[in-house]
């Protein structure tokens, strides 16, 4: 009886033979996302650094912790801040949950960006993978949008003024900017309507879009022939069970360990309740937008509109312009010296202005030394 029940769920038992291992991969929904056999080349941690996988696992952690937080959080200006205090001090493990959600979100912004860098430096966006690169760029934008909408929810000073600055940047976009801001806020100022809209976007609209695009992204990896490898190494494969599956499990465990450690060691910030009459000095956007804020300091149109638009458009058209199949599947291929140098220069510049905005800017956005 027990055998039959078990078999009704798992067609193949614990796979011991090579044939059973291939069958196991095919007969389970989750495992079937994987190929039955996988290239040895892409299994080396030094090739992918596991960044895409880490990003996905962080998204899973964010979904689970986010659902738990939703049971206590109330998206209204009269109650939001108090419910944050409740989560921190009146909910068992509430502080831990919030910390985990916060640090996983920050981590995901970082790993998604690094994943993009990895894909670029290994030339993995070349045909036939152009479209999956585009999906990846959209996923990066969604990650930023999710982080940004989540940033308002605590309804503290940090949240309020970061979103004030962020939505003011939106209004600089020519023609449609002010209308989009009005739509985003549900009015002229950041109040109850804005909080509710950000809440719905953060908890429902953007995660659903994210889940859909993540599924598309994974599916395309399979359809585009798996992860890239140089031609000479395309054909050496091993069964995905256990070589891939257990590596993924290991990465998942590592992600959980790091998120737990961060959540136990560092508390997420919560400043005083949002107050439209008092601007903190300096008022800073979330760290991943501080590069943008630093550029905005030089000129709002230049930093807030021109630079981000050009970067996103360049990322979107890149795989359709740079189609030469040289140097695919290895890091920093010599044939791609120019492309890699240009990309590295832009990435380093972005990181540099972010560091300047985060650590070197004090009251009135004047230059300060962080020590």
């Amino acid at each position: 009886m027990k055998g039959r029940l078990f078999r009704s769920v798992f067609r193949v038992g614990w796979p011991r033979t090579r044939q059973a291992r291939l069958q196991a991969m095919l007969s389970s929904l989750v495992l079937h996302l994987h190929p039955t056999r996988v290239r040895v080349h892409v299994l080396r941690p030094s090739y992918t650094l596991g960044l895409g996988l880490i990003s996905f696992f962080l998204f899973v952690v964010l979904t689970v912790t986010g659902l738990a937080l939703m049971l206590y959080y109330v998206p209204h200006p009269d109650a939001a801040y108090r419910s944050m205090k409740d989560i921190e001090y009146a909910v068992t493990f509430g502080m831990f949950l919030r910390n985990a959600h916060r640090w996983a979100a920050h981590g995901m912004v970082a790993t998604v960006f690094l994943h993009l860098c990895r894909v670029f430096f290994t030339g993995a966006y070349k045909p036939p993978r152009e479209f999956n690169w585009v999906v990846g760029v959209l996923l990066l934008l969604l990650t930023l949008a999710l982080s940004f909408t989540g940033y308002l929810l605590p309804w503290d000073q940090l949240a309020f003024w970061a979103i004030t600055v962020g939505t003011a940047i939106v209004a600089y976009f020519p023609v449609l900017g002010p209308q989009v801001r009005y739509l985003l806020l549900g009015g002229h100022e950041i109040g109850a309507a804005a909080l509710l809209r950000f809440y719905v976007l953060h908890c429902l609209v953007l995660p659903l879009a994210m889940a859909f695009l993540v599924a598309l992204h994974f599916w395309r990896v399979r359809k585009d022939g798996g992860l890239t490898a140089p031609p000479a190494r395309l054909h050496r494969r091993v069964p995905a069970w256990p070589h891939l599956v257990f590596r993924e499990l290991l990465v998942f465990v590592l992600v959980l360990v790091v998120v737990h450690a961060a959540a136990l060691l560092f508390d997420a910030p919560l400043e005083g309740i949002a107050d439209a009459t008092r601007t903190p000095n300096p008022a800073k956007a979330p760290w991943y937008f501080l590069g943008l804020q630093e550029l905005v300091h030089y000129g709002a149109i230049f930093g807030g509109v021109v630079v981000p638009t050009v970067i996103v458009l360049a990322l979107l058209v890149l795989p359709y312009v740079d189609t030469h199949p040289r140097g695919v599947g290895v890091w920093f291929a010599p044939e791609r010296r120019v492309a890699n140098a240009v990309f590295a220069a832009i990435a380093v510049a972005l990181v540099a202005v972010t560091i300047v905005g985060t650590f070197f800017r004090g009251p009135n956005w004047a230059w300060v030394w962080p020590w």
Binding site: W161, T167, L183, G191, A276, T277, R278, T279, Q293
Partner: protein, 151 residues
Amino acid sequence: MSEPESRRRFVAVAGTTGLVAGALGLLGALARSVVPDVLYEPPRRFPVGRPADYPPGSVTFVPERRLFVFNTPGGFCAISAVCSHLGCNVDHEAGKGFACPCHGSTFEEDGRVRKGPAAWPLPRFAMVLSRRGELVVDTRRTVGPDFRLKA
């Protein structure tokens, strides 16, 4: 084209057109519903107290309205405290003008930009004296630098 075939074609075209039109209408209605018609926000035209509340020559920050009320020798005027750059509240220092804590813009005493990144002056709002003798600011109407309300 034989008759049944052209009929089939007509039905297909009409059906597809109807389906697309219906879907677009539904999407349009959905998009329109997202634009709020009623705003539960503070009014954009509001009293800020009596002229006597503001001593001659004073500059007063009205925090809940995010603006400054000037009582100059020529009369009253109101200047927005919301930085024209990215929406932070500017600080006022007597005789030195305004400074924004977010990105370091500074403004002259009359709201003109002294140093960027702000590209536009701080807006100056129209003021009237209500029948009850209160100063009323209308943030929907901006006025030039010469505007003064005699009260």
